[in-house]
């Protein structure tokens, strides 16, 4: 059981975002995809849940070809995949409790009481106990992000996709989120894909790191391997030296 993207191409109009993107994520591991802003990290992530379909290439999740899957099958698959959005993407018109319970209400065998129970449990997991009746507008950005977390894990997915989980957060909250990501893997055994440009966070939470550059994976390896790499682009990105990246072929 794993996630595999093979030679994925995706263009928006004339802009080619992914140009032969290939990566494999094994069960139980957490992989970070790093890269500058606008290089298509989120685009790659959205292919995994079928929010986007590849122009060319294939996306395999649990041995099924997501790119060719009919819509109904996709909805079934998505119960196994939790998605944590960059700005949480909470539904403004619903309470926190309703937001977290959204995915659960799609499961026919869940009763109202068992949904409420599970919602409380998920909120406890992200340290937001008793927030059920609040509205998204009433809580802070970091709290919203944690609610997004709770919503993603509510259906006990096998995979969790994190889109910029720590961007724009203060160091303390960043640490809390990183801890959450690690806890998910440790306690729930989920497979994780993290999109980030925060190097510290990437090195802290991942088993492997991949650098996305010009639509392809430029480098992948363990955090240790990446730190030791002598590729110009990798060095430039880790050390924050644009002159190295600009000089790349």
């Amino acid at each position: 059981m794993s996630i595999r993207l093979e030679e994925v191409h995706k263009a928006f109009g004339r802009k080619e975002v992914l140009r032969g993107f290939t990566i494999e994520i094994h069960e139980g591991e957490t992989v970070s995809i790093i890269g500058g802003s606008g290089v298509g990290k989120s685009v790659a992530l959205k292919h995994i849940v079928g929010l986007l379909r590849p122009d060319r290439g294939e996306v395999w999740v649990d041995g099924e070809n997501v790119g060719r899957m009919p819509q109904q099958e996709l909805y079934k698959l998505r119960r196994n995949v939790g998605y944590v959005f960059q700005f949480a993407a909470l539904f403004d018109s619903m309470t926190i409790g309703e937001n977290v319970g959204m995915g659960l209400r799609r499961i026919p065998e869940m009763s109202r009481a068992s949904i409420a129970e599970r919602v409380a449990e998920c909120l406890r997991l992200v340290d937001l106990e008793g927030f059920e009746e609040r509205m998204p507008a009433e809580i802070s950005g970091g709290q919203r992000k944690r609610v997004g977390f709770a919503r993603a894990i509510a259906t006990e997915p096998k995979y969790l996709l994190y889109d910029e989980p720590t961007t724009g957060l203060d160091p303390v909250t960043t640490a809390v989120i990183d801890e959450l990501i690690m806890r998910m893997r440790r306690e729930l055994g989920v497979t994780g894909v993290v999109i980030t440009h925060d190097m510290n966070s990437a090195f802290r939470v991942s088993d492997r790191v991949a650098l996305l550059h010009e639509g392809r994976v430029r480098f992948q390896g363990t955090p240790t391997e990446m730190r030791a790499a002598d590729d110009r682009i990798v060095r430039g990105f880790i050390e924050g030296r644009p002159e190295l990246m600009g000089a790349a072929p």
């Binding site: 959205k46 849940v49 929010l51 819509q71 909805y75 079934k76 998505r78 119960r79 995949v81 939790g82 998605y83 959005f85 960059q86 700005f87 993407a89 909470l90 539904f91 403004d92 959204m102 995915g103 799609r106 919503r151 993603a152 259906t155």
Partner: protein, 260 residues
């Protein structure tokens, strides 16, 4: 070839292609909405809220417009008819114009601003803040969850609003005739009944159903296809109002040609 020759041709080509593409996307949305009709469990719980929003909350503005339309129709009719045509024709003109044309069209245009823009802005915001994607990842079909209840509510509630607007407009024209034009009720009613056919009311209802479908689905279309943050939401809202107003007027002419 020179760039000055190639550029305009390229421009035309890309304009046509994007036009065809947007028709395709709109058709896709339409087909998706028809398919999503089966998923009653997904749109069912939300339709009431949308009906309240589209129908009940739009009533004040629709009736306000209808009232003044009725008054103006009566006054202008009497101004036009002075001497030449019997005054009871004021009733005929108010009734016919209100039911056949101004009731549905003015309500449609007003609601394309009120309802259509509101839907486009709401769905546009949901799109740019990734709430629509979030719905998808939580296994909700956004078309069934967001589009169907709005479009259905529009198709059901528009005719209701228009029927009320027609009635209010006619009553306003009647009262104007009584108070400002020295007409009597029997006179006004005689004119009102003179050429009345029950088909007129059906025509009004058919028109308003299509306008309801138009305003809501255009709003949904532009909302769901919003890109580019807050500015994009603004753009979608404007486009939605412009497009649905234009479609309403074209449909108006088309329906008059086909059904009358």
């Amino acid at each position: 070839m020179r760039a000055s020759v190639v550029a305009p041709i390229q421009g035309l080509g890309s304009a046509v292609l994007s036009a065809v593409a947007s028709v395709g996307t709109a058709g896709h949305l339409g087909v998706g909405a028809l398919r999503a009709l089966r998923k009653g469990d997904m749109w069912g719980p939300h339709i009431l809220a949308q009906m309240a929003r589209i129908g009940v909350h739009s009533l004040p503005i629709a009736l306000f417009i209808a009232t003044f339309t009725g008054i103006v129709l009566a006054l202008q009719a009497s101004y036009t008819f002075t001497g030449a045509i019997p005054l009871y024709f004021v009733g005929t003109l108010v009734g016919k114009t209100m039911v056949l044309e101004l009731g549905p069209v003015l309500t449609g245009l007003a609601l394309s601003g009120r309802v259509g823009a509101n839907i486009a802005a709401e769905l546009g915001t949901m799109r740019v803040t990734e709430q629509v994607d979030a719905l998808e990842t939580l296994a909700y079909d956004p078309i069934a969850y967001l589009v169907v209840p709005r479009v259905l509510a529009g198709a059901i509630m528009f005719p209701m609003v228009v029927l009320m607007a027609n009635a209010v407009g006619i009553v306003a024209g009647w009262l104007t005739s009584l108070w400002l034009l020295d007409m009597s009720s029997p006179e006004f009613l005689k004119g009102l009944r003179l050429f009345f056919r029950s088909w007129d009311v059906w025509f009004s209802v058919i028109k308003s159903v299509t306008f309801g479908l138009t305003v809501t689905s255009v709003g949904c279309f532009f909302g769901l296809h919003t890109t580019g943050g807050a500015e994009g939401v603004g753009r979608s809202t404007t486009h939605s109002v412009v497009a649905s107003s234009m479609i309403i007027l074209v449909l108006d002419a088309f329906l008059a040609a086909v059904l009358l």
